[in-house]
């Protein structure tokens, strides 16, 4: 264990190395670039590689290639770069390739304000790629969470053979904080499941009880064949409804059935009772935390639920957390995108969107003002 004072981007890079990252491919884009720069220095020290490619499309494909050599791999980007990556992301979902994308959001759309923050891409992160499946999206709100959730992201990706997105933002990227870093022996690091069957009996897409097939890599002697087309358990292209249905259901279920295990949150209760529940994520949660504390002085007893796992939501847990509150506020630095997801889960009480469009860290006073308006109704 060691303690350091680092920003969110460095925390992600260090978390990745702790988790076993050994290959990084990327293309520079603000505000994610210093993850890349930091890893360019750090990865060779641990025997890994950080390479710069011609674009984000190349980067995500390189990450897929390295992962198929059983090397833990990641890339980092921001909105416009992620848009280019979604083609490859879909390939990673279909081929069940473990990888991590650190997605550091900036203000969009288009090229927006590259150096400033926003949470406009929260839906793109999960729904952006073609094919309509689901991938886990984790969102840290502090440098410590950035470190811890990066490790969790790698662990989920290895365990479930899925890409995982670590959704950060420009404020967190540049926010410094105390981070407790662990060595690999001190925390659980998950490695991917390898086949135990000999090559002639091995079926590359035959899942075990956990719905995840063991993964033979390039160089393991299995003559692997990685198929991006709809495939049966042998990896043979099979354009039939039966095979498509079976594959899609498994790919979806292996994630969704793990909601409980993947779902992570933090609850802040300034006055103990949660008459109102404020839900937030990412760096906006820092402002929301200030707001709930200050609202207590006005006898508005609100709690803050910082959601660290944006997808998949553990719906049961979320409903339970909001049980005692009469109203739910969703605070985010966009026009109210994740609010729609929450509204889809909490249906027995008012769910109100508090959109704070702010290029800096959202102003707690603005949050308070909007909450007051609803509470005094």
């Amino acid at each position: 264990m060691r303690v350091d004072y680092v920003n969110g981007n460095t925390a992600i890079a260090e978390g990745a190395i702790t988790a076993g990252l050994r290959f990084y491919a990327g293309y520079p884009i603000t505000p994610s670039s210093d993850i890349f720069e930091y890893l360019s220095r750090r990865l060779p020290e641990v025997g890994g590689y950080a390479i710069q490619l011609e674009d984000e499309i190349a980067s995500i494909n390189a990450v897929i290639g390295a992962s198929w050599c059983c090397v833990k791999s990641m890339t980092a980007t921001s909105g416009p770069g992620f848009s280019l990556m979604v083609e490859g992301l879909s390939i990673a979902v279909m081929t069940e390739t473990p990888l991590v994308i650190a997605y550091v959001m900036r203000a969009g759309p288009a090229t927006g304000v590259p150096t400033k923050t926003g949470q406009y891409d929260v839906l793109q992160a999960v729904y952006g790629f073609h094919g309509g499946l689901i991938i886990p999206v984790l969102a840290p709100s502090t440098p410590q969470e950035a470190y811890d959730l990066t490790i969790k992201a790698f662990n989920i990706s290895e365990k479930l053979r899925t890409p995982v997105i670590l959704l950060s933002d420009a404020v967190l990227a540049n926010t410094f904080g105390r981070v407790v870093m662990r060595s690999a022996g001190e925390i659980e690091i998950i490695e991917r499941k390898k086949p135990t069957k000999p090559p002639h009996l091995y079926k590359p897409y035959e899942a075990e009880e956990d719905l995840v097939p063991p993964m033979a890599c390039i160089g393991d002697g299995y003559d692997i064949y990685v198929e991006t087309l709809t495939h049966d358990e042998r990896g043979v292209y099979a354009p039939t409804t039966h095979v498509q249905r079976k594959l899609m259901e498994r790919l979806y279920k292996k994630i969704i059935e793990r909601s409980e295990e993947i779902f992570e949150y933090r609850i802040t209760r300034p006055s103990g009772s949660c008459d109102y529940m404020m839900i937030s994520y990412g760096s906006t949660a820092l402002s929301a935390r200030v707001a709930v504390k200050e609202l207590e002085n006005e006898s508005i007893r609100a709690c803050l639920l910082t959601i660290n796992t944006l997808y998949p939501i553990n719906e049961k847990a979320l409903r339970k957390l909001c049980e005692e509150s009469s109203m739910v506020f969703v605070v985010e630095n966009n026009l109210g995108l994740y609010y729609r997801e929450i509204r889809g889960v909490i249906r027995d009480k008012p769910v109100i969107s508090i959109p704070v469009i702010d290029l800096e860290i959202p102003d707690p006073n603005e949050i308070k003002r909007m909450v007051r308006k609803w509470v005094e109704h």
Binding site: A58, N61, G65, I91, E227, T228
Partner: protein
């Protein structure tokens, strides 16, 4: 398992996936056979091990080579094979990584990846099976369609200047640049055989026939007729100069090895830099 080998090259094929989806008379099969023969020779000579070879493909008729050969093989999205192969080569530098794709896949949508991989002298063997058309998607115009040729997206005949892959690879500093043709399979095998031994970037263009789409659209319905017509356009040269690489449907195509040199490849540079940690 249990199936008698119909062909000595069957050990390099995923026989369970046969027959291939390639149309009768398609040139891709000939190119694949020449490549497997060259690989087989290298393996029998002890120069390569079977498990050292990795195939990477994108999308299109030609990239399905990666689907039928029995090596570690992987396919990705249209045009993206080269960056994926690049990563494999970096983390597994003792592998011989072979990318096979068509003209649309590698020179069209993947063009940017191609030129940067050549610029890096990335140690890859990239085989472009050039049938001058987007075949799998129904015969649209490709970067190598000769001028005047009808395609489904240039109904009045293509007027774009086609890409000369040989000159492109030469200008960016590839170590080994050659053009073969399915009409000359022995020469093609020899080009592959040599290429398998080279380091740095290896670009091999294979002029091929697509009777089903290209041939049918230009009125050469018969596979044999198209093959003959193409064969008449091929000019074999021993040591052709780069100026002889001209890509011209009217004058014909010079086949041979245009560049063959021993400059350090990307992996050599990486090895020097990272003497201790290359696995």
């Amino acid at each position: 398992m249990g199936r008698a080998l119909a062909n000595p090259l069957d050990i390099y094929l995923r026989v369970e996936k046969l027959p291939t989806l390639w149309c009768p008379g398609c040139g891709i099969g000939i190119a694949t056979q020449a490549l497997l023969k060259a690989i087989d020779r290298r393996i029998r000579e002890g120069f390569l091990r079977k498990d050292q070879i990795v195939f990477v493909g994108g999308i299109g008729c030609s990239s399905r080579v990666a689907m039928y050969v029995k090596f570690d093989s992987i396919r990705t999205a249209h045009g993206r094979a080269i960056p994926l192969a690049t990563a494999i080569k970096i983390v597994k530098p003792d592998r011989r990584v072979i990318v096979v794709g068509g003209d649309g896949d590698i020179a069209g949508i993947g063009g940017n990846h191609l030129l940067h991989a050549i610029r890096r002298n990335m140690d890859l063997m990239v085989i472009v099976i050039n049938n001058m058309i987007y075949a799998m998607t129904g015969g649209q115009h490709s970067p190598t369609t000769p001028p005047g040729i009808y395609t489904t997206t240039t109904p009045e005949g293509s007027f774009e200047r086609p890409l000369n892959l040989i000159k492109l690879a030469w200008s960016l500093g590839a170590n080994y640049v050659a053009r073969g043709s399915v009409t000359h399979p022995q020469l093609l095998e020899q080009i592959f055989y040599k290429g398998l031994e080279r380091r740095g970037f290896i670009l091999i263009e294979v002029i091929s026939t697509c009777p089903e789409v290209f041939g049918r659209h230009i009125g050469l319905r018969d596979a044999v007729e198209l093959y003959r017509r193409l064969r008449d356009k091929m000019i074999v040269k021993k040591n052709p100069s780069i100026d002889e690489s001209e890509y011209d449907w009217e004058k014909g195509f010079v086949l041979g090895v245009f560049v063959d040199r021993e400059e350090k490849g990307y992996i050599d540079h990486l090895r020097l830099l990272r003497r201790d940690c290359m696995r």
